[in-house]
């Protein structure tokens, strides 16, 4: 069950790209934060995750991923409050 390969030894910082510096990196970081806070889909993060931790599993196309995301977000149960 445990996806530990490669992740061990450090707490992931969510999906904020680390390493790069400069204005572009700050902008990319900001975009990533906004995307995560508003619950937007993150196809790159998903694809990276599957390639890294589930090699051999087919990676959904961007369209498939988006459709699945919409179903997950609006498919069941309230996701927001009054």
């Amino acid at each position: 069950m445990l996806d530990s390969s490669g992740a061990a030894g450090r707490v992931p910082s969510g999906r904020m790209g680390s390493g790069a510096v400069g204005g572009g990196a700050v902008l990319a970081w900001l975009a990533s934060v906004i995307r995560q806070v508003s619950g937007m889909p993150d196809y790159k993060g998903y694809a990276e995750h599957v390639r890294r931790f589930h090699p051999g599993t087919r990676v959904l196309t961007e369209q498939e991923y988006y459709a699945e995301y919409l179903h997950r977000r609006y498919g069941d149960g309230p996701t927001r409050c009054c």
């Binding site: 707490v11 969510g14 995560q36 806070v37 990276e48 988006y66 309230p78 996701t79 009054c82």
Partner: protein, 679 residues
């Protein structure tokens, strides 16, 4: 170490002094700074000490235990997310119109009762509920409140919780839609701006799905820009003699419009309308709340509303009923909200990296929501009391025009002139603000005051409509996502009777279930629009009661989780808010059904209407409809109370069985797996 202690002592002292000032202050006005300081001081101390106690002693938070996000990480819903980002995400999901509208309505009692309940209700009740449910769901791989109720207390409780949620959804959508209708009736500026959000959202939808798939951020940026353009454009529409009539609608027309919109949004594919609107509304929500906080801190407005008004005796015009219990159900969301238990047991628990993050996100996120409610209260309390009541009292009470209104309001002991009421309406670009019940318009006037003093004098009208647009946008987003969720829940329930009805991809079932949900809340909405007492008077308490009863259900589940994990000696952390909620909510429910005052009690109002029909002062057909509505509202209230009572009894039985050792104290948690992340 010593410095830290001194620091916390100072924070505690500041809060205590601010409460002292609020309690002892006598005079015309008081600065909002004292309210903000008292609230923030209390939040900080409660977060540092009480939430740590909950985390360490009561729940036994363990950072060596892998969270679902780590164990089940799939790059989709189970995604480890850094704590502050998740805090923002969770906050955006729990903050809605409830914490903004409730405190504004409860301001009829003065600013003090609302402030006290918001601050102490949240630290001892709301934040505890959110934290414990989030924690419980995290320990169960993100199970929903209903599933937890089912597993820990039995299948009947789970089914009851599910029916309760569906019923609450119907009332919630109706009352929120009514708030929007009252804000937009006869307001071409507001209607134009809100109508524009539909084509803007569809444009964004095609952008993200068809033209540039996945580019959600750039589409949203374009959407926000177009939205602001529509806001400015609305002024020209309102000022144009040829265009304005096309966008001027009565309350009833708007109500049918929203009902139609809700149906269409529920059957259309989500990418086309619902999802883009959701993004727009999230951005506007976070942006405006930050702006409001900044504005209040910059302006520090004096509050003109008295600390306590004479209306605590139950004679208030905004809604009927005494301070106890009605302050505690009118301010539902900002102090404790059952709805949060649904959000806290959905998406968020699947994204936590560490168990200890649940404290910041569950407890801290709810403190933030309470702070939003405190700001809304300040925005309403900075208005002249006369103006506040001119906007929030029903038109029938005010006599229909500014002269009669000023007369009536003076009779209540607040000074206001007809010229003042007219001047205010003109300054925000409206023909009239009289009798715009529902809280949104008076909040918008208060926010416009703050924004225009902080960020630009003379833009009062633009800021007012900005605030209206912001409220209407995310209320309508709740209406369309809520209708859809209600449709899914109904399909799930119906599927248990006849299998094909449960298939959410089967179009006839989708259309039928959507129509039923829309008809449900649509009926209550139209009832509210036609209500001679203004609609809010009956629907808002109904919503408050249902939301607080859901909170009682959540606290029952929370208590069961605590007792089952062998921590029965700490069960008071949930039993304390639970007893208060049950006392306040059942009293309110009882009074709404059986009170002798026709303004307060549904059945007394039905009897009064019947006697009016009998004496010939009311048409038979109108009377029959009003009487039916009163009985329906009474029935719904009783049903809510019965469901909660059943859940309460089932839970209490479970508690007794465990405490008397006739049943083992074993919680249905997922097994322990050691984390692979190094501290």
């Amino acid at each position: 170490m010593l410095f830290k202690r001194i620091g916390w002592l100072l924070v505690a002292l500041t809060g205590a002094v601010a409460w002292g000032v609020l309690a002892l202050h006598r005079g015309e006005t008081i600065n909002a700074a004292w309210v903000v300081l008292a609230a923030v001081g209390t939040y900080l101390v409660a977060y540092r000490f009480y939430s740590r106690f909950l985390a360490d002693r009561v729940l036994g938070v363990n950072d060596r235990r892998a969270t679902p996000a780590e164990r089940l990480g799939n790059g989709r819903d189970f995604v480890p997310t850094s704590r502050w980002v998740l805090f923002g995400h969770h906050f955006a999901a729990i903050a809605g119109a409830g914490p903004l509208v409730g405190p504004v309505l409860a301001a009829q009692f003065g600013y003090l009762p609302g402030t006290i309940w918001l601050v102490f209700g949240v630290v001892l009740g709301g934040a505890v509920q959110d934290f414990i449910i989030l924690f419980g769901s995290m320990r169960r791989d993100g199970k929903s409140l209903g599933q937890m109720a089912k597993e820990e207390t039995g299948p009947a409780t789970g089914l009851l919780a599910m029916i309760a949620v569906l019923a609450i959804m119907v009332i919630l959508l109706a009352v929120l839609a009514l708030v929007v209708v009252n804000a937009l009736k006869d307001s071409p500026w507001g209607v134009f701006t809100i109508l524009c959000t539909v084509p803007i959202a569809v444009l964004m939808g095609f952008w993200m799905k068809v033209w540039r798939p996945g580019k959600t951020l750039e589409a949203s940026a374009a959407g926000v820009a177009l939205l602001l353009l529509a806001l400015v454009g609305g002024r020209h529409v309102a000022e144009s003699a040829t265009l304005a009539p096309y966008f001027t609608y009565s309350a009833l027309t708007l109500a049918y419009g929203i009902i139609g919109y809700g149906f269409i949004a529920s059957v259309l594919p989500v990418w086309m309308l619902l999802c883009p609107r959701d993004y727009l509304s999230t951005f506007m929500k976070i942006g405006t709340i930050l702006l409001l906080a900044l504005g209040i801190v910059l302006v520090l407005p004096p509050l003109k509303l008295p600390a306590v008004t004479p209306f605590i005796d139950g004679t208030g015009p905004v809604f009927a009923g005494k301070l106890f219990p009605f302050a505690f159900i009118t301010i539902a969301c900002g102090a404790i909200s059952g709805f949060h238990a649904l959000v806290a047991s959905g998406t968020t628990p699947k994204m936590l990296i560490r168990e200890s993050d649940a404290r910041l996100i569950g407890y801290g996120g709810m403190l933030m929501e309470s702070f939003v409610a405190v700001m809304a209260l300040c925005a309403a309390a900075l208005l002249d009391p006369g103006i506040y009541f001119a906007i929030n009292a029903p038109l029938t009470t005010l006599g229909g025009n500014v002269h009669s209104a000023a007369e009536v309001i003076r009779g209540w002991g607040f000074s206001v002139t007809p010229e003042q009421i007219d001047a205010l309406a003109a300054s925000v670009g409206e023909k009239t603000l009289l009798g715009r019940t529902g809280g949104a318009p008076s909040l918008a006037v208060g926010m416009a005051h703050i924004f225009s003093s902080a960020f630009g004098q003379g833009l009062m009208a633009l800021w007012y409509h900005f605030a209206i647009m912001f409220e209407a946008l995310f209320i309508l987003t709740t209406v369309d996502t809520g209708t859809r969720v209600g449709r899914f829940m109904l399909q799930e329930l119906a599927g248990q009777i006849w299998r094909p009805l449960g298939r959410t991809s089967w179009y006839p079932s989708t259309v039928l279930a959507s129509a039923l949900v829309v008809a449900g809340w649509g009926y209550f909405l139209v009832q509210g629009v036609m209500d001679p007492l203004g609609g809010i008077n009956s629907l808002w308490p109904l919503f408050g009661i249902s939301n607080q009863l859901l909170a009682s259900v959540a606290l029952c589940v929370g208590t069961t989780l605590i007792i089952k994990s062998g921590k029965a000696r700490y069960a008071w952390v949930t039993l304390l808010p639970l007893s208060w909620l049950v006392a306040a909510t059942f009293t309110a429910g009882w009074q709404k059904v059986f009170a002798d005052d026709p303004r307060l009690g549904f059945l007394a109002h039905a009897a009064e209407t019947a006697s009016k029909v009998a004496s010939g002062t009311m048409l038979d057909s109108i009377g029959a409809r009003l009487i039916f509505n009163d009985r329906l509202d009474a029935g719904v209230t009783i049903a809510f109370m019965l469901i909660t009572l059943l859940v309460l009894l089932a839970s209490a039985r479970e508690w007794v069985l465990i405490l008397t050792r006739r049943k083992p104290a074993r919680a249905q948690e997922s097994p322990f797996v050691e984390t692979a992340y190094a501290g």
